[in-house]
Amino acid sequence: MKKDGTNKDTGLGRGLVLSQGNVAVDIDRSTELLGRRKLFQSVTFWLFRLSAAVNGIALLVVVFFLITKGWRAINWTFLTQPPMDSMTKGGILPCIVGTACLSIGALVVAFPIGVASAIYLHEYARLGRVLRVIRLGINNLAGVPSVVFGLFGLAFFVVWLDMGVSILAGSLTLGALTLPVIIGASEEALRSVPDTYREASLGLGATKWQTIYRVVLPAALPGILTGAILGIGRAAGETAPIMFTAAVFYTPSLPSSPLDEIMALPYHIYVLATAGTEIEATRHLQYGTALVLIVLVLGLNLFAIIYRARLRKRQ
């Protein structure tokens, strides 16, 4: 308390007054400046909050839109029956099955190669030109447009290797697309395993591979699996890579071998909305299919996020 009884609020809380010996600090001025600084901080923080909110809002808008337009199409028949009457009636069962086959196929292709590559890049590779070239390759692979993947798949798998339009060709093409995602997520997971574990293991007389297999991989597994789930989600929603390599407008039966052609959810939407014979009449089915697809992808992503959070909590 100052001698004259004043007790100015310096912004440090009531009752706390600053003074420097005989020189009194100009409290009024510093309060005003403090107020302005706080206001500026509030404004900028609210701008940040708004930006973050835009993300969530955008997603909600899209989902809401699809739900309102498409929920009428969703029923048991829709999900379990093949399309009938030039696609105006019936369901999308072959599409669901086809997308599932392609996603699993892409994972079967990309997961082993991706994880093995990540292990090599992080644990074994020595700095040098070879490493830089490989990394350049992976980064560029990640940047290839999906339609280019589709054309590549057509030229290489479908025609040159004579696989025909098939699940196999589609899975290989989608696998190539998913590969950078899995390598990236796996490398990050491996990086997050502390070096102290590796040192402790080697110090006990383990070989490098034993260290990786027994300590590093189990510790990195949550991150790797999360990457795999996100990878499947990405593969499930791609249209261009499968357009030329696996998906067809209509096939009467469910696939029985990897060389069969299939229908797929994203391609089905495209087909109904542009090339089908009854575009307007099938509009509700398009939205229904889109809704199923987005529920599938969002569901996978949500599962990955929750799974990763649970594992992080356990660690």
Binding site: R126, L127, P194, T196, Y197, E199, A200, S201, L202, G203, L204, G205, A206, T207, Q210, R214, V215, P218, A219, Q315
Partner: protein, 247 residues
Amino acid sequence: MRIKDLDFFYGDFHCLHKVCLEFNANQVTALIGPSGCGKSTLLRCLNRMNDLISTSRVQGEVLLDDQNIYKPDVDVVTLRRHIGMVFQKPNPFPKSIFENVAYGLRVNGVKDKTYVQERVERSLQEAALWDEVKDRIHESALGLSGGQQQRLCIARAMAVEPAVLLMDEPASALDPIATQKIEELIHKLKETYTIIIVTHNMQQAARVSDVTAFFYLGELIEVDQTKKIFTRPSSQKTSDYITGRFG
């Protein structure tokens, strides 16, 4: 174990200069010296952990039972079984307590379940940890306190029955009570193992070791019985360091 004319380089940096040192069996040798004098580097040379650093280079010999461990035909993996290491910060694996101690046995190919069980129990007893963990031996090792984790790491190192135990500032990350337990443990362990401990805590070196070696800027300045080093050191530098003139 003996070191003969050891020079060590990190790339161009000449870290250790012509070090000659002998470690007697069943004794505790402490390596002391100010930060950056190379004592941890020297320790890591003894089990070839520095091989992990690509720019490291070694000249000279390190002899275990009169065999140079840096000969090109030496199997580093087997070597590290015979020379165990405990690190500064406790680093148990994210596995159960049992699996942590059993790890060394498993990677060296031991399959006999009863043998593994016995050895794990014996190591934990030797590390004075068995009573505290016997009821939760299959729970995660990460749930233990810092001091317990470090004793677990010691048990883990002992499970493979090394000849030499290297300890890099084993108690520096621990509270005083845990430190005391570790020091008591070292006292007990020297009956079975040859222990080489790096410490920047001079009082700890005085308490725990039989022989002390003082390093300064990569050179071995003086090595002698601990009592003598701390009461009547021969070198001026040693006495300056011990009395705290520099640190």
